[in-house]
Symmetry: C2
Subunit: 174 residues, 2 copies
DNA sequence: AAGCGCATGTAAAGGGTTACATGATTGC
DNA sequence: GCAATCATGTAACCCTTTACATGCGCTT
């Protein structure tokens, strides 16, 4: 249950609506922690009923902007320090790689080329995203750059791996 | 639904029981694709009723060993070539990093030190696991080494990132 | 007035974890 | 005989995604 704290954290930067938060989760956090709008609206409802966030304003098109409350700020800060870190990783592409020996060499090469392209593109996108808010110096932007750096390294590592895997196994083993 | 194909893939190496598969998922795939036994037994039941695997033998303690059928082998091979690759990544530690600016510098340093230690240890474990089956040359072992390489690179990248993040932001920003 | 993007939700289904439950065999 | 480990399963719960549904407001 970290979406809860993810929303609190984003709201700590300033008020936002469910729609805003969904968009940010999609374009900025989609690469590291995707979340869809139904989950977000549901969680916002729960957070609000618990007093961790509150409706700040109602706008056109029945837009509801939430702001974080003192209790909410205390909650996210406590979570960051005391909460258990969940190190779970679940990557289908790596599971697939366990079974590469079942693939025809040609298919495998194609697959790895495509994977490499995909990861390189993601890494580039994350880098571009970071560059876009280049000079911003607020604490939250600085944190975001740290996150982006992680994403770039992560996807870079996977891209390099895919390239390595494509060339290293001496063509057609099996 | 990739657990299904994960099980088929492991059974392609040879017959195994649910217990065996659960153990392998825990010790070898736990770092990249964890799965618990209830899910595994349930999926084995489904695969079996669909004729993709079959009970090979019943042993002591009502152990049931499954083997993959021709249909099952065809299914996993088709999946590897035609199946959509799911590139979803969901890493709580990276979500946390978006909110580093909400932490006290001391707490953050402690956190990053612990993270670095954790990832370095995981990388080392994966490396050790690969070294343990060092000389094996069968196709499936070779694939496993490719997977392990990915895991080592991945966790290595995260360890490096944590170390970098700890030192780079000039001590106490905010 | 038509169409797009904003904005919020509900419902159903799928995927996964945790806790509970049970029993057989082996080694001490 | 006792404990540990092998071995399988069920039930309840939680989390997440996909599909469905609706309506407002702005632009052309």
């Amino acid at each position: 249950m970290s979406l809860r704290h993810g929303l609190l954290g984003l709201l700590a930067e300033g008020p936002a609506s469910g729609y805003d938060l969904a968009r940010r989760f999609q374009e900025m956090l989609g690469a590291i922690y995707p979340a869809q709008h139904p989950k977000i609206y549901a969680e916002l409802g729960r957070l609000s009923s618990e007093g961790l966030i509150a409706v700040e304003s109602e706008g056109p098109r029945r837009r509801k902007a939430y702001r974080i409350t003192d209790a909410g700020l205390a909650e996210i800060k406590a979570w960051l320090v005391e909460g258990e870190v969940d190190h779970t990783v679940r990557l289908q592409p790596l599971l697939r790689s366990v079974f590469f020996w079942l693939m025809e060499p040609d298919d495998l090469r194609r697959h790895l080329t495509e994977e490499q392209r995909f990861y390189a593109e993601r890494a580039a996108r994350c880098e571009a995203y970071a560059a876009a808010r280049g000079s911003g110096d607020s604490p939250s932007v600085q944190s975001l750059r740290v996150t982006t750096e992680a994403a770039v390294r992560l996807y870079g590592a996977l891209a390099d791996w895919a390239e390595w895997a494509r060339t290293v196994p001496p063509a057609g083993d099996r």
